[in-house]
Symmetry: C2
Subunit: 245 residues, 2 copies
């Protein structure tokens, strides 16, 4: 793997125990007790999110594009218009970094220095490349729809050939990944616990609101029963985790 200085190159993305093998590229260096490399930790964070930030390099310039993604096994997928600059560049196979972040809370400490953030994040590395087989492309797009909206694909009209032709799906097998998380209350300096300073956590969540029907919706068409989980105030990360089953 590129930039590996710690461990020998490894053709398999994970070892027999279901862990990614961190190299210098993915090892969590700062506060390393916050880092994890096992598939269960990495996948739990990935599967609870919907938007990834995808990093790639064109002529030495870094780009970070936000996009929806999905996972199947050890591969992450994203898609877009066949005319997209990012996707056209990635078709050929380029190194990418896919980062997913859940902001879980603000940590208010008794000193400026110890203020912190509760979060769950994953950085995944691999080569982004085109899904060239049209059947695999169509199957992946179906998975994407049903990940967000379980059962919906079967209720939609078939894709038109020109719709699939105008869509590009990119796949990145995860070569290395690290999860990094923080949770819980502030860790203050011992002397500061005596201060008259409020300390604690302000939770932050991503929630869905009540679905809003298109004003042009055909009369009598109800919101799909299978999507009852999308109710006002439901946590989006929990919904996505449920949908993944």
């Amino acid at each position: 793997m590129p930039n590996s200085t710690d461990t020998p190159s490894n053709d398999t993305p994970s070892n027999d125990t279901g862990s990614f093998n961190p190299t210098a590229r993915s090892r969590v260096k700062r506060l390393h007790e916050r880092g994890k490399y096992d598939e269960a930790s990495v996948f739990a964070i990935l599967d609870a999110a919907f938007i990834a930030h995808i990093g790639y390099v064109i002529d030495g310039q870094p780009f970070v594009t936000p996009t929806a993604y999905w996972r199947q096994g050890q591969t992450l997928y994203w898609h877009g218009s066949a005319a997209s600059r990012m996707l056209r560049f990635q078709e050929a196979g380029v190194p990418a970094c896919v980062t997913v972040t859940h902001l879980d809370g603000l940590v208010m400490a008794r000193s400026g220095f110890h203020h912190s953030i509760n979060y769950r994040s994953v950085m995944a590395f691999g080569m982004a490349k085109l899904v060239a087989d049209p059947q695999e492309e169509a199957a992946q797009l179906d998975l994407f729809v049903d990940r967000l909206y379980p059962g919906r694909r079967a209720t939609l009209r078939p894709n038109e050939p020109q719709e699939l032709k105008g869509t590009t799906v990119i796949a990145m097998e995860i070569e290395e990944a690290s999860a990094k998380t923080r949770s819980g209350h502030p860790k203050d300096d011992e002397a500061d616990y005596a201060l008259d300073c409020w300390a604690g956590v302000i939770p932050i969540h991503q929630v869905v609101g009540r679905p809003i029907a298109d004003p042009l919706l055909k009369a009598g068409v109800a919101f799909p029963k299978g999507l009852a989980g999308y109710r006002d105030g439901a946590r989006f990360d929990e919904l996505l985790t449920t949908n993944m089953v």
Copy 2:
């Protein structure tokens, strides 16, 4: 500017009308009607968010690191431990891409193809470099605390010299930036409006929960009055925008 093929190099980050001048690097190519380059549009999206995804390149490998950030004028700031790999690399001055994304809703259309996402995002480009002056560093960290928690800095004990020494602040003046947004209902093919298929928008918001006091909080210390906006269910993007005033 690097990678500029459309316009001549420009030393000033924005023109006289308060707009960033897009080059090939930042111009929104796909669905270009969704792109905006004026400072008001870019800053409104930046100021309503807290976490950015920062892209940088080490030996050709892209990295995307999530981190809290703040803005002053045309400059974005982020910080962390002086031991951080990302920050140590950026100290010297390296090209960076700072991307901020608000997920606002899921757009359910009458065909798989027209499903979409409502969002507000900014990609900002510039050179990340160390804030070397200790006084400027301290002042920026104070701004960061008060951005999130208006008035709090004045209630905290002073920073210890070794705390400031152990903290690195990075600044990136925005050379170019583009905002890209989508809002509203699906745009379906004309014939599909007759289908018995639910269509509309599921809103998504980031909200705060009720503050949770540290179990070790000194007895009698109340949650700061000035932070009453952090009440259960308040939208975080709206809170941040208010705080920025």
